[in-house]
Symmetry: C2
Subunit: 188 residues, 2 copies
């Protein structure tokens, strides 16, 4: 499955495309659609929309995944981020692609195993998952790739199991073991 | 000048087109792009974008005017409104049209003479300005026309003078009269 991940923003819109087959993830493309704050908002939105349209045409992903925008935080920039997310949604819809939204916590949990992980940890894990020497720069690019990976791994066994995931798996295994023992006991 | 006025919203997006020559305003088209809340956001945004694109193609306005969206109020609906405003901005930019934003107070002041006017008063004045028997319904349609009228009248003498405007005009006239009397007095 090929996924375009989008970290929406008016100043910097992260755009990352990966191919995902089971646990394996390969980097296809990563870029940032950046527009100067001196431009009028409509021109900035058109620049972002053109960049997304071009990526959809060139790399033909199967799905688009984007970070969910909340109204609560960053009131000063949230309007621009919401407008950017709107034109990305429009591009996906017009290309006939499904679009999924993920919260920052879901993305951090998917790639690092910890929903409250620090930003540098996300970049570090993205580099590790993709076999890159260094985290993609700027952070918006790494975040876009993390969002794409989150979508690809959704509901599947993930690549590098983290400490939290290992604890959960161990607890689940123990619970299943107990259930099996009880069944066995009843059958006797 | 032909202006498309837009009252942006995900559930109901008001779209009004007027021709404005000096004080005269004629209704060209008024509609509401409505989408059910059961639809996914990308499909709703595409429906709005398609409606705007169709109006721009059919009526070829010279400019687009839209209500400015603020992050402060209506936190529950502001994200959808911002996303809708984003796709309208994109449509205007791709059609090569200038887009202007007006605050609700600016629109109320332009059509009623009072920035804190109640919503029904806006509809009443829009009907009066356009020579309609009744205010356009729903309110989103009337608001879209009010926004278009605001843009057309920007910086110009307005049509129907309101009580507030008449008081201001009277005060200005009185002041000019006094100045003229003083000049006359000095010349003696």
């Amino acid at each position: 499955m090929r996924v375009l991940g989008v970290d929406p923003g008016l100043t910097r819109c992260g755009l990352g495309i990966v191919d995902i087959e089971g646990r394996r993830v390969n980097l296809v493309s990563v870029s940032v659609a950046a527009t100067p704050s001196t431009w009028e908002t409509p021109a900035r939105l058109a620049s972002i929309a053109d960049a997304v349209d071009a990526l959809l045409a060139e790399f033909t992903p199967d799905a688009v995944a984007m970070e969910r925008v909340f109204a609560q935080h960053n009131v000063r920039t949230v309007m621009g981020t919401a407008q950017a997310s709107g034109v990305v949604m429009l591009a996906a819809e017009r290309a006939g692609l499904p679009l999924s939204l993920y919260t920052p916590s879901e993305v951090k949990a998917a790639v690092t195993g910890e929903g409250r992980a620090a930003k540098p940890q996300v970049g570090f894990m993205v580099a590790r998952i993709l076999g890159l020497t260094d985290p993609p720069k700027p952070a918006d690019a790494a975040d876009a790739l993390a969002i794409a990976i989150t979508h690809g791994w959704r509901g599947k066994a993930q690549g590098a199991a983290t400490a939290a995931q290992e604890r959960w798996a161990a607890a689940e295994k123990a619970a299943n073991g107990q259930a099996a023992s009880r069944q066995t006991a009843r059958r006797r």
